[in-house]
Point group: C2
Chain length 390, copies 2
């Protein structure tokens, strides 16, 4: 049995509704993956993620963060990241490539890999395709990402080309190391009974910044290596939004039809819907959780900053169209009070609602593609978002 | 109908098991009340408080905090504190007396009341028995506390006597103001249909620091005014633990047999069991929530500091005897990681477990009194607590 299987079941223009089957459950696509950086989706209990309210089928973990803390030995000793965190559904781990790249001046990139200083204890560390694969094997995630290099949004053609070619060489090395680990039945960090070769899937990443010609070459390089799924990386890193959509529009439809297409680190609810319209199947983004902690709610009528004085006596829920447990129970006035008083419950409740809104949006997207109403859904969704005009 | 009714249904030596009936449900005593200072029991959702795991029947709100923020107008406009927070079960509010007393140099006490500077915005505020009753009426709590003055743990006899007599005069003024508000059918902050006279109960507070003669006089003064319940205040404020238990042992059994006896602001699980043995029915304390946020777990085998390195790979739950959702699901290793990584989920989960342990302990206390096994429960509980010896 393959680690994953993917089938497109309905398509409307470029938008696809499909099914991604993993050993840990069936995931309907397009899907949004909440980000669980350090082994927790910040501010939310796993019971809530599993509840009907959210029903997240797959979450993301960060190799960089988990490798540095608590460290691989601790997670291996627990039997892998699923067992360590008690999350029994699907997990995707990134490769750490983006995180070490984000360290900026603190890292040094060579052909071999990236040297950097840990943000936890300042120690000198080194991450490479081979090490990233080993770490992700120990984490035992269901979907592993290749170790890549990201070019800045404003990178020149030359600079981007150099970076893209490095990514291609790293992708090859990632694949080789991954295949070796899988065929060795390497310690994936899972309990013995699950210690199977072929338990993990590997996704390649297309780079090339805003340069469409390079993006196409990168796609070709990646597909020629051959992966279980393909991601578009290096977007939402400072480029104009129009550039981002240009890349997605050009690249997504050219990606293999029968493999999942994953847009990394994007975006707002409208970004998600627009990217689906261009053929993307999978998303992750910290916006619902991070912005929840800073008092920003995503609603069907646009964003809402709960700290605003206008909500002092507002007895309405965050989103009158939302049926999540927070909107069924709590008023804006109460949530504002919690936020202003610095109460943790503000973050907990806003995070819950924001995740519910993102996951619900994707539910609507999937249904509308299957019923042939996606263009209508997309139009109405976008119009409503402008209603509050914030 | 009275605001509350109280019946002792079983007694073993001084320990009592009873039923406190309020308009918002039946509360079995002895009972522990989680502290919801600013309209939230910190770090925990109301759904969790209501779940079988915790099933808290009554929580506490702080008049001082809520009066300063969000302010009474906001809470009144929502229809009272129950509606504002969405908590539909019983609520007890303290009077603000203890909080303003705790401000130390920032407050000035006179016959009329206490002047102090708000910790929120530094503004000069004044709280008196009459104002406290008005604020608590607006909050619409089920149990209102008189406005009292607390003497420090080490206060001299003279100082304590002066303070105790002031408390007695304030108790009388509290009662007069409370009765007036109730008979006026004052705006209790509740929605019209519930805006009944007699909707609230009023408890008196016995003061007198560690001086037993003064404690007895204070009890007499309080009982002679006549309240729906009686509290022991001014303990756990810096005095020796032996002094605290001397006071409880002397005073609790002298308190009216047919009214609830409430020990304010106490204490650890062992304090609760020991105070029950001396005749106390109600408790509140910030320990389970506050210590949960600093990484301390209360367990049946004593306290446990989750940050300790010894838990790095510990795959056991916090408390192997606990059946709460945290202990059923998460290991000490995972909780330690969350705490060390500064993840909010550490506070959320430790708070949940600690509350479960406190509430479960009281469940065991009630059952054992009813079955006639309280001495055995008390002995075994205390022995087990020493097991970890932390």
């Amino acid at each position: 049995m393959d680690a994953i299987r993917f089938t497109v079941e309905a398509q409307q223009d470029q938008a696809r509704a499909g099914v991604l089957t993993t050993r840990r459950g069936v995931i309907e696509t397009p899907v949004f993956m909440p980000v669980g950086t350090a082994g927790t989706v910040k501010g939310i209990r796993f019971e809530a993620l599993e509840s009907d309210d959210l029903d997240a089928k797959i979450i993301l973990g960060n190799t960089y963060h988990l490798w540095l803390r608590p460290g691989i030995d601790v997670i291996k000793s627990a039997g892998g990241l699923h067992a360590f965190t008690s999350w029994d559904r699907a997990l995707l781990t990134d490769s750490g490539g983006f995180q070490v790249w984000s360290l900026g001046a603190l890292r040094k990139i060579s052909e071999e890999g990236t040297q950097f200083r840990s943000h936890v204890d300042g120690s000198l560390r080194f991450l490479s395709p081979e090490i990233s694969m080993e770490v992700q094997a120990a984490l035992g995630s269901d979907i592993v990402m290749v170790f890549d290099e990201c070019a800045p949004g404003e990178a020149s053609h030359d600079e981007t080309e150099r970076s893209m070619n490095l990514t291609a060489r790293w992708a090859k090395r990632s694949k080789t190391a991954f295949d070796q680990l899988q065929s060795d039945g390497a310690d994936t960090g899972r309990r013995e009974v699950e210690c199977l070769s072929g338990a993990q899937a590997l996704f390649g990443i297309v780079q090339g910044a805003g340069h469409l010609d390079l993006r196409r070459i990168s796609l070709q390089q990646t597909v020629s290596i051959g992966f279980d799924g393909y991601a578009i990386g290096g977007l939402s890193v400072g480029e104009e939004k129009s550039v981002m959509f240009e890349v997605i529009e050009d690249i997504a439809p050219r990606m293999p039809q029968n493999a999942p297409r994953y847009l990394m680190g994007v975006g707002t609810p409208e970004d998600l819907v627009e990217a689906v319209a261009r053929g993307v199947d999978m998303f992750d983004c910290v916006l619902p959780t991070r912005n929840g902690r800073t008092g920003q709610a995503f609603t069907s009528r646009g964003k809402l900053n709960i700290k605003n004085a206008q909500f002092t006596n507002d007895s309405r829920p965050l989103d009158e169209s939302c049926r999540c447990s927070v909107c069924r129970r709590h008023t804006r006035a109460y949530l504002r009070h919690l936020y202003i008083a610095g109460e943790m419950l503000a973050s907990i409740l806003l995070t819950h609602h924001n995740l519910a809104f993102f996951l619900d949006t994707m539910r609507g997207v999937r249904q509308s593609i299957r019923s042939g109403d996606f263009p209508k859904f997309r139009r109405e969704f976008t119009e409503r978002l402008g209603a509050n005009g914030e």
